[in-house]
């Protein structure tokens, strides 16, 4: 009887594995079949001349160029906001903080990593409304607010990956610099950070990947269907993931739908590449990216 149960577990495991692989391949295969034909210059630039569009002289109306630019701006801005703060916090927690502080802030960052992204979007939205009512009525949901919310969203990945990769360093590396007469700050900047760099950068890459794909935050903080290339920090913008969401809801003809498949394929390519790159650099750091909903 026991033997039977053991065999059953083995068979069950294989069936489940095959099922999962089947799902994923069906999924990717479907996307490839539908999306590949639409990839091309037309998809990105529409009828406009690519060179003119890149130089900002021509507006692109029926391509996803503005959405790509919007996504890049968003990622760039959020990374600028989140990376310095995150890395510094990580260094403080790993090198300076006492055990009590470590424990408390560890819990704080775990909680932040667990908050659903829509709640962080809601926070950004309320912040925009608050600023609008109390300071300047030109402020509304915009590129800046979105980037700020996304920065909050990805902050825990950067903090924890920095902290963990510094703490993982062997005591040998940690003490050599000090023994040679370096002070604590010199030891951190010249020895510890260079040694932990692969872990820290894998955290940053994961953060960038999340910024590029998190639709829920953008949904509440200023993304719109048609805005063109963003002109200022306070303007609304287009983004690739929102474009996909919008098309799935509002497409009116097969060409638009094909554009949605093409955009999905591009976004999938970018995000999958970033995630695989991060995993390749540091295998074990990434579990808690997955806390995020």
């Amino acid at each position: 009887m026991q033997g039977f149960a053991e065999k059953a577990v083995v068979v069950f495991s294989w069936i489940m594995t095959i099922l999962l692989c089947l799902f994923v391949f069906l999924f990717i295969g479907y996307l490839l079949i539908q999306g590949l034909p639409s990839l091309g210059r037309e998809l990105i630039f529409g009828q406009a001349d690519p060179l003119q569009a890149l130089l900002g002289r021509a507006r692109v109306f029926d391509g996803i160029f503005p959405a790509i630019v919007g996504t890049l701006c968003l990622v760039e801005l959020s990374a600028t906001l989140a990376v310095p703060v995150g890395v510094c916090s990580g260094i403080y927690l790993a090198e300076y903080a006492g055990p009590g502080m470590k424990k408390l802030s560890g819990m704080f960052f775990d909680i932040l990593a667990g908050i659903p992204s829509i709640v962080i979007g809601l926070f950004g939205f309320s912040l925009a409304v608050f600023l609008h009512n109390h300071f300047d009525d030109r402020i509304g949901p915009c590129l800046l607010i979105s980037s700020l919310s996304l920065a909050i969203l990805v902050l825990p990945y950067i903090v924890r990956s920095t902290q963990i990769s510094l703490e993982e360093l062997s005591p040998g590396i940690r003490r050599t610099g000090l023994a040679l007469g370096a002070n604590k700050l010199q030891n951190i900047t010249y020895v510890l950070i260079p040694n932990a760099l692969s872990g820290i950068s894998s955290g940053i890459i994961l953060a960038v990947g999340r910024c590029a794909e998190d639709t829920a935050v953008m949904l509440l903080t200023g993304v719109v269907a048609t805005a063109g290339v963003p002109s200022s920090l306070l303007s609304q913008y287009e983004a690739l993931p929102f474009y996909i969401y919008y098309i799935s809801n509002q497409y009116t003809n097969p060409e638009e739908l094909a554009g949605g498949y093409g955009a999905s394929l591009i976004l999938l390519g970018v995000c999958a590449f970033l995630f695989m790159l991060a995993y390749g650099m540091k295998k074990h750091l990434s579990y808690w990216t997955l806390y995020r909903a």
Binding site: I15, C21, F27, A113, P116, I152, L185, E213, M276, L290
Partner: protein, 285 residues
């Protein structure tokens, strides 16, 4: 000179840490402050458990809580066997090459954007459900299936990680006593890895509760507690996403903050539970 630089650096680092911590607390405070008018308007309990009927001035979020549970719990339950089986194959049953490839596949899955799961769900799964079961296709079932696949990498990675972290000495001892792969897995590795696996399960549940895009795109978003898998439902997250920002001061609008608070509490409880389980594990070792 060097001393002062050291102090400055330390204070900058400390400031960043404090700024990040303050941000996290302010998210909750912000939501409570903005949701306050609703709490004053109706009794505390009725906000959470009461019905949704704007014409009667009732803004209970029970239909949304029920929708969230109807989607998140079955999705996690469906994902559990898938993840268990796959993590068994990844950690002990498969050959070396297969394990490596499966591991890469699961990691790749974590990199697939949520909106793309939703997009493919609409155009691939929805027609199948429409043909198979009838109805509009936008229903709890569609969201459950896609969500189960979405959260499975979380569970698989946590499961395999805790299965692999069992002391190899114990496993070798069982091997020396003649236990085969399945026996080692079931009687030696599994019991020792149970705590870590429960953590993974809770975190995946947290992910399912907090996911916005899948239920928004696939579940139909009707404000009514679903009574079956083929009925549409609206989750807490989708309710926030669908808010109409035209009237910031209306009570209907304020209700999204109660949803926000509910989600915050759900996921915070999950994280604290996981930390508690983790601590118990380290004490035992």
């Amino acid at each position: 000179m060097i001393f002062s630089r050291e102090t400055i650096a330390k204070n900058v680092f400390l400031f960043c840490t404090l700024a990040s911590t303050v941000t996290i607390s302010s998210i909750l405070l912000f939501m409570i402050a903005l949701g306050l008018p609703l709490f004053q308007e109706s009794s505390f309990l009725s906000i959470w458990t009461g019905p949704w009927d704007p014409y009667q001035g009732l803004y209970g979020i029970r239909p949304m809580i029920s929708g969230t549970l109807w989607i998140a719990l079955p999705a996690t339950a469906l994902s559990l066997p898938l993840s268990l089986g796959t993590s068994f194959v990844i950690t002990s049953l498969g050959g070396r090459e297969l394990r490596r490839m499966l591991g890469a596949l699961v990691r790749f899955m974590t990199g697939i954007p949520t909106v793309i799961y939703g997009f493919v769900g609409i155009f691939l799964l929805m027609p199948l459900i429409r043909e198979g079961f009838g109805g509009a296709g936008m229903c709890v079932l569609a969201a459950v299936i896609v969500l189960a696949i979405l959260i499975s990498p979380t569970m698989i990675l946590f499961f395999s990680d805790s299965l692999l972290s069992v002391d190899p000495g114990d496993v070798q001892a069982a091997k020396a006593l003649g236990a085969d792969r399945a026996q080692r897995l079931l009687y030696i590795i599994m019991p020792k890895a149970l705590n870590g696996m429960i953590s993974g399960f809770i975190l995946a549940l947290g992910r399912a509760l907090g996911d916005t895009l899948i239920s928004l795109m696939l579940a139909g978003n009707a404000i009514r507690a679903p009574r079956g898998f083929l009925e549409p439902a609206r989750t807490l997250t989708a309710h926030i996403a669908l808010v109409n920002a035209a009237d910031f001061n209306s009570l209907e609008f304020r209700s999204i903050f109660t949803c926000g608070i509910a989600l915050y509490l759900f996921t915070t409880t999950a994280v604290i539970a996981v930390r508690f389980i983790g601590r118990k594990k380290s004490v035992m070792q």
